[in-house]
Homo-oligomer: 150 residues x 2
């Protein structure tokens, strides 16, 4: 699959991804480094919290989602570069053993007003678990180069 310039994106296009299993060990390792709170670090301690059991840090989920996106067929020329996000939420916790995949849908395509060589693609990125439940939804505005004209 070749890379796509701004002109190659259209509203309604969708892109899938590979799959990735989140192990308890990885949840705890990420948390120890970046989000050391009981519900991300230890099964026993997590039971007494709002999560009622071990759950991945939301920032672990955003990072794993990026990994799946980078390896998917969603390939803007110049790479996946997020300028801003309109929303981000985690409707359900990611649990040990969950298998994640990503679905992306193009919501908007527009040229930059200030930079003729650039544009923006607004995309809804949904991360789903093995039961098809959304564990993360965000809407991102990506910077995408326009096709260079001769």
């Amino acid at each position: 699959m070749s890379v796509r310039y701004l002109e190659d994106f259209e509203i309604g296009q969708t892109f899938g991804s590979g799959r990735l299993v989140v192990e308890a060990k990885a949840i705890k390792q990420f948390a120890a480094e970046f989000d050391p709170q009981p519900f991300h670090l230890d099964e026993q301690a997590a039971r007494e919290t709002v999560f009622r059991g071990l759950a991945a840090s939301g920032w672990h989920t955003t990072a794993l989602t990026m990994r799946l996106l980078v390896e998917s067929d969603f390939r803007p020329a110049g790479g996946i570069v997020g300028a801003s996000f309109d929303e981000l939420r985690w409707p359900k916790p990611v649990r040990p053993g969950d298998e994640l995949r990503v679905e992306s849908e193009v919501l908007e395509v527009k040229a930059s007003k200030s930079k003729p060589e650039l544009g923006f693609v607004k995309v809804r990125v949904t991360t789903l678990n093995q039961a098809g439940e959304a564990v993360q939804i965000y809407i991102g505005n990506l910077m995408v180069p326009r096709r260079v004209r001769a």
Copy 2:
């Protein structure tokens, strides 16, 4: 500093954090695991990209911000649990050697309509570099327990 319940938060409260230096090695390690794109992996390759040099993955910055937040005086009872985010952006790249710190400001405090024991605190979290420039800004809605009444 003791933990804070919903009733202990007020609009306009601000919280600082410690500081943390982001080394090139950490930028590349995070990228290799979660965001393997040239501008996050290799100085030379990064020069030819929109970043014009090595830059941290934005998801690395969100993760480091969480680390600084968890270790700061911003201590909601029950932990820092993000329900949703209204916006997230990265106004400037994080470069190797940057020293980051976080400033949080409470924007809104409200009780949950459906759950009497819970509420939400809307907070703007700004991550700054050593020059005082914002490298990341997000507005998050955190779930915070209400004080238990006897």
